[in-house]
């Protein structure tokens, strides 16, 4: 059957390079425009919260960072599974490109959450289920990066990292449902709810704009890193062949 969309077609490095070349300008341009609009809405165009005051503005970077951290790990797990099961040539490259970016977003989510927590909860940190599971996510990313580079034989490191990526997927539902399963200081879900978001539209639109900007940025940076790694591999092969 040759009909329909087949994601495996893009596992070909040459095809991926052509796709990245076509998509990168759009992803980058879209991210720049939406960051400009989103930042204006977040810092100027949206009202302060009646309880949180201006600290609510931290939400416009905290929530998108947390979403990118989780989405990144989901992709890392999928890439790890692809590497282990199908041995896709691009899966290891994707993993190495995603992990540091995902770790960066996790770090930003932890720091911005902490800066929001102090004026709101009266403390920078509390060992509740949401915060702790998110800290575990950061350690999973760091563990993945460390394992990738831990062995002289590169493929062993990549394989070990792929295993940790797949096993670590169990942490994603724990993060997502931690606020429902346990009594946490972190507030419960306010966007992806069955009965619709509980945030006022004047704050939801800036948040939505920033989430799309962060998503475009994430894919632009990951694609740039993947493209660079593939060209480095070509360069090594060319230098070796001479």
């Amino acid at each position: 059957m040759a009909t329909g969309f087949n994601i495996h077609r893009f596992a070909n490095p040459g095809r991926f390079l052509r796709l990245a070349g076509a998509l990168l300008p759009w992803l980058t341009g879209g991210a720049v425009i939406l960051f400009a609009v989103g930042l204006y809405l977040a810092l100027v165009g949206s009202p302060p919260d009646y309880q949180q005051g201006d600290t609510v503005r931290i939400m416009y970077i905290h929530v998108p960072s947390a979403w990118m951290a989780m989405m990144g790990y989901g992709l890392l797990g999928a890439a790890g599974a692809s590497a282990l099961i199908w041995r896709h040539p691009l899966a290891d490259v994707a993993s190495e490109a995603i992990a540091p970016v995902g770790a960066g977003f996790t770090f930003v989510a932890l720091v911005t959450g902490s800066l929001w927590g102090k004026p709101t909860w009266g403390t920078y940190w509390v060992w509740d289920a949401r915060l702790t599971s998110f800290l575990v996510l950061f350690f999973l990313y760091v563990g993945h990066i460390a394992l990738t580079h831990a062995f002289d034989e590169r493929q062993r490191g990549r394989r070990s990292a792929a295993i940790i990526a797949v096993v670590g997927l169990i942490n994603l539902p724990i993060i997502k449902y931690s606020v429902d399963w346990w009594n946490t200081l972190h507030q419960s879900e306010s966007i992806l709810r069955m009965d619709g978001p509980s945030i006022d539209p004047s704050m939801l639109w800036p948040l939505f704009t920033m989430i799309v900007a962060f998503t475009l940025y994430f894919f632009a940076v990951v694609m740039t890193r993947m493209k660079a790694m593939l060209l480095e591999a070509r360069h090594r092969a060319a230098a070796f062949a001479r």
Binding site: T55, T112, A228, L231, A238
Partner: protein
């Protein structure tokens, strides 16, 4: 923003630093890889994709 500024601006600062750093480092790595590959293909056109 009053007293809230002490929490809001550091949060935006950390996020901006991370976003700019990753974008710049990734772009510089790509440029370096493209230049290195260009040097090899210029000295040996058989290595080029078009060959």
């Amino acid at each position: 923003m009053g007293g809230d500024a002490a929490f809001v601006w550091p949060a935006y600062g950390v996020a901006a630093l991370m976003l700019i750093a990753f974008a710049l480092l990734s772009w510089r790595r790509l440029r370096a890889a493209e230049r290195a590959l260009e040097r090899v293909t210029e000295s040996d056109p058989a290595m080029s994709d078009d060959a």
